[in-house]
């Protein structure tokens, strides 16, 4: 056998061994791969295709390619600029509020008084988690009722002498710092809904900090805020970073709370990117433009996702 023939024979042997070694795992993974392909990757590719057309469900059969017109419309539309700004504000403000409240709650609940853990922390912890476990539909209906013109909040305000009901989710005139009242109300609901997640993650991180570090810091005179700032915060920072990042991503593309609370109204005051995609695609039935909005959101979120994966790998390598 010549060296070439021997080399070819060895290659075939290696291939057969590889197939034998990996055959079963590949076979078992195949169904999931097919499902992912069919229900995730193929629809994404089709969305890209649709985004380059003027497809409308109101005029079936008249679809034609329009190149990047839909993307140009996104970039130049004043309507979309407003929605993008509202989306950023809604995401950043609700996540920031959730983070602050969640960390505060976790620190308070895991703190010790005279060497003993806080009494009733299990019950309080359970109550704190209630917004997290409530489905968004339930949360939205509850807050719609609470915020309504004849709801309990206005009832309390009336008893305090406020004669006119405050339409927290329907006021088109009142603005605070240039932002409509309904958007602030929605941000408040977002904070309420999101802070338990921060509480959970932070509480878990806090319990992993060795008590000796706090004792050492106390010996050096760092107590209270200084202990938190220079000992606790640096140690829980990696967990906080991941949590903030994930919540931001969810808020940027999500539509559940805004859609259920206000539907994007009144007058678009609470309209965010996710709701706008739904309105364009499923109310206006302009699926070409709707697909472009979805693809644009995907492209904006992708770098963040890549950054997150790389950071996670670096952190794991560091451990």
């Amino acid at each position: 056998m010549s060296s070439v023939e021997l080399g070819a024979s060895l290659d075939r042997l290696q291939f057969r061994r590889s197939v034998h070694r990996h055959g079963w795992p590949l076979l078992l993974v195949a169904p999931v791969a097919v499902i992912l392909l069919l229900f995730m990757y193929v629809p994404v590719l089709d969305a890209v295709r649709l985004s380059l057309t003027n497809a409308s469900l109101l005029r079936p059969g008249s679809e034609r390619g329009v190149g990047l017109d839909n993307y140009l419309k996104i970039a130049t539309s004043p309507e979309f600029r407003g929605i993008a700004g509202q989306t950023v504000l809604w995401s950043v403000a609700s996540v920031a509020g959730s983070a602050v409240l969640g960390v505060l709650a976790a620190v308070l609940l895991t703190s010790q008084r005279r060497g003993r853990p806080l009494r009733g922390r299990a019950i309080i912890g359970g109550l704190i988690l209630a917004p997290f476990v409530a489905p968004p539909v339930v949360s939205a209906y509850v807050w719609n009722y609470l915020y309504s013109g004849s709801g309990p909040i206005n009832g309390v305000l009336a008893s305090l002498g406020v004669s006119e009901p405050v339409y927290f989710l329907g006021d088109t005139v009142t603005k605070l710092v240039g932002v409509a009242l309904p958007l602030w109300s929605m941000i408040q609901v977002g904070v309420w809904h999101g802070f338990p997640f921060f509480f959970l993650m932070t509480a878990a991180a806090l319990t992993s900090i060795p008590i000796e570090l706090h004792e050492a810091a106390a010996i050096d005179g760092a107590t209270g805020w200084r202990d938190f700032r220079w000992v606790t915060l640096p140690l829980i920072a990696p967990v906080l970073e991941v949590t903030i990042f994930l919540e931001l991503l969810f808020r940027l593309g999500g539509l559940d709370l805004p859609f259920l609370l206000t539907g994007g109204g009144p007058l678009g005051a609470t309209n965010v990117w996710g709701v706008f995609i739904y309105q364009v695609g499923f109310a206006r039935l302009d699926i070409g433009y709707g697909a472009a909005l979805g693809v644009a959101l995907f492209l904006i979120c992708t770098p963040f996702a890549i950054w997150y994966v790389r950071r996670s790998r670096r952190q794991l390598a560091g451990f």
Binding site: L13, R16, H20, R21, G23, W24, L27, L57, L58, R59, P60, G61, N144, S148, G149, S150, P165, Y167, L169, G170, T172, V173, L261, T262, G263, G264, G265, P266, L267, G268, Q279, F282, A283, R284, L285
Partner: protein, 480 residues
Amino acid sequence: MTDKKPEARRPAEHLSTEWLVTATPSRRQILKAAAFIGVGAAATQVLAACAPATASTAPSTAPSGTPPPSTGPSPSASTAARASLDASKTVRIWIQNYGDPKQQADALATIAAAFKEATGVTVQFEGLDWATAEQKWDLAMTTGDLPDIGDMFYLPSRIVQGQGKWGPVDLTSRIDAGDFGDWNRIVEASRNESTIDGKVYGIPWRIDIRAWTGRKDMFASVPKTIEDLESMGVEVLKKPGIQTATTHFAQPVDALHQGGLAFDTTFLSPDYKTSNLLDPKWIEAGNWMRDLSKKKIFSAQSEVDQKFNQNGSFYSGTTGAVYGGGTMINEAKGVAPQVVPLMVSGLQPAGASGTSRSHGSCAQWSIFENSPAIEESAAFLAWLSTDAHMSYALNQATSTISADSDVQKLDTEPYNAAFYEQGKTIEPTDMPIVAWNEMRVFPDGPLNVMANRVWGSTDDMATIFSDGHKAISDILAKNP
């Protein structure tokens, strides 16, 4: 080198999964496994196909307080007709949810049971929530994933969306043959709405006339003019618990339409080919609506807030009347019976012309071209529409008014009299053109956006209607 043969399996090895990991399967083993999986999948499909079909069951209790269904024979229930129907088929019908859900479900169950007894054919109703009905119909009309019969609106655009494959069936020949009784007994506005290019695509079963519903404990009488409305509304606002004198009904575009009619102007030209939004009367109407909202005679919240409970505010007493709403008496009997004795109806307050004007629209039962049960569906519609008592029971249970004058004669409810009177001269709520669907899409189609800006913003009125005119003209240009 040779392939390593799998080791002989030890006793009880079937209880261990170690062999899965350590054994290297041969090609024969892989093929055998794939064959087993394939046979299993095929067997599952066969078993599923053999399983009996499950049909959803509607409550079987008869609706209370409704007249008993007529048991008189109808042409389609004759023996010969029954013999031509396939009793194994099920006629699926989508109907929007109106009024009290339980009342409606009970009435539909009674109708389905009666038809089954008469013909042996099963009818299955599915209720659609109004909040999502538009999207559901639009998506269904695009894909063809439709029932056999639908409670239809926007008929012209459905014909386009059907692409000649699954659109509404042309019923003209059946109507001419008398299958649905005397066609001229259907009110003219409804006949016109169901007829596109000389062909009839639906059988009208209800007409949604918008008029005035007030509470006697709030409004001393029905305001005859818009000036009366304002002066009486000011008095209503003095009553405890009142937030606004009136509320609106349905979408912002409907309230805007009402306002325009009070000033004798409409959205489109009479031939529906051009926008009429540059008519100066619109600015007058818009300023009037905004002014009355500021004075809390009208409720801006009921239009700009998508989650506002319009009828609920009437029942709870935070508002004194519904301006331009549909019939509410049967819904009230179900959800707020304590308010029923206080309810009174009337014509919409007249504007400068001195004539009360309003709008209304009918809904039709349409059969879809891709239905596998067209004959059974047609038989059902013929049976239902020619049985005045059965039709009346459906209208009562859905808190709607019939488009059939024979059925209207059965209605002795005093509350409905004003609606029948108003219905004699109504404008169509939904314009009979393909472009209408896109114009009034909720929540952010151009007409609804325009209405929201009138009610809820401080934008210049001329600018609002000018922007609306441009948007409407663009849509008309896309749909010649």
